[in-house]
Symmetry: C2
Subunit: 239 residues, 2 copies
DNA sequence: CTAGAAGTGTTATGGCTCATAACAAACAGG
DNA sequence: CCTGTTTGTTATGAGCCATAACACTTCTAG
């Protein structure tokens, strides 16, 4: 346990680079072919290798898929967090808008990866024990929760449009997110999920092309109004 | 053009029955395997046939997929319409709740088919010219529009939470849905899509298992509150 | 410096699926 | 009963996943 390799060796670096190249190539092919179904043959061909060589880096397609899911989940989270951090700490309205827009933009630019983490589980893929699949949901919630905690701390978290909460939801909030106790009231916890659902709905429909029948300007305006409505309904200040 | 076969022959009937059995088997396998990726081999095995026989009924996998998508779109529409018709004509609140619940229940019971029409377009599948893929969106909109038209006719369509509408959205409403002119104002048209986005978001997250971390009662309560919030925000009476 | 070990790539192979071709059996109408 | 259509079969080829066996490169220890 002493003297662990703090500095990666040359081999470790080249191996890591190859792993990254494989994943990047897979993502590129996913974009080009508009599918989450990646063929080892194609990845290898693009990389100038033969298919079996990929098995030195990933045991099978599921393992590659798991890595891609983990990456996607991380990248979506990072995109949202970065956008959020770009606004002042006390600009709650701006932070909600920025985070929501980042969520939407990432989904539109990477619809396959978005589907990978928040769509129907991929053919044949089974999420590993406590895997990152559902963690995307948890993380999205955590980022939203941070927004609500901050708004509450600033005393700017308004009452949601729907102030009633069922005992089950209140209990769920207390059990699953005890860190919010005394800070974000149950009705705001519920409203938080409402806001996320609205954001996720408009994003999904948009990312999968179901608003293609309307013009770009109208679609942008629709998204903006949806986010604004969600904020109003959730008690997020809209300034 | 005279004397077209109004009565299907025996052959036509058996053929249609086989087509239905193929589709039903495909749907069954989709459910059992939790995937939209259906293998001709499996369908044939379940039906006691050999794989090439299926090509007598569908030219290739895409054609079967197209048929399944068309069916799914029809069935979702029918499920929602049936639920809606189960309520009195003037029970606007009940109709919204019933329609939304049917939408969610169908998605939960048939997540693969739901993903087929409203998720990421399937690997390799290209929607035929004016195909039914995006029609699911149009149909969902039409059913919602009917609800709003009826509410407006009864004078019970309230002002939405967000009364402002961008010129682009107003123009889009006028161009794409001229039948609503003078009946459903632009801000309510916009609110209608907001309501659908919220419904679709909560439904997608639920159907794909992203609320599995909460108990069944909490999930039900969450759905009910979300639908109620959406109604309030859209100006649908909640009684 | 030089084996031997570890790592990384290749070709060869088996099993599975999609899809077509060629052929056989069942069926409808004169 | 006979003939053409429909519907099924077996045979076959191409492509992909995955493994096995083998070859080359790179690191490391003596």
């Amino acid at each position: 346990m002493t003297e662990v390799a703090v500095v990666p060796t040359r081999r470790e670096r080249t191996r890591a680079a190859t792993v990254e190249e494989i994943k990047a190539t897979a993502r590129q092919l996913m974009r080009e072919q508009s599918t989450t179904d990646v063929r080892f043959t194609d990845i290898a061909r693009v990389m100038g290798m033969t298919p079996p060589a990929l098995y030195r880096y990933f045991a099978d397609r599921d393992e590659l898929l798991t890595a891609l899911i983990a990456d996607a989940y991380t990248e979506l989270g990072r995109a949202v967090a970065t956008a959020r951090e770009g606004r002042e700490h006390d600009d709650v309205a701006g932070r909600w808008l920025a985070a929501a827009t980042a969520y939407r933009d990432w989904a539109r630019s990477e619809p396959q990866q978005f589907a990978l983490i928040l769509g129907l589980p991929v053919p044949g893929y089974v999420a590993p024990e406590d895997g990152p699949t559902h963690e995307a949901a948890r993380d999205a919630m955590a980022q939203l929760a941070d927004l609500f905690v901050r708004a509450a701390g600033l005393g700017r978290l308004g009452q949601p449009l729907l102030p009633e909460v069922s005992p089950e939801m209140a209990a769920c909030a207390h059990e699953k997110h005890p860190e919010l106790d005394g800070i974000v009231p149950p009705e705001s916890f519920q409203a938080m999920i409402h806001a996320w659902a609205t954001l996720h709905g408009i994003t999904s429909l948009d990312a999968y092309g179901h608003f293609d029948w309307m013009g770009d300007e109208a679609r942008e305006a629709l998204f903006a109004s949806t986010i604004r409505m969600a904020a109003m309904a959730a008690g997020i200040p809209t300034d």
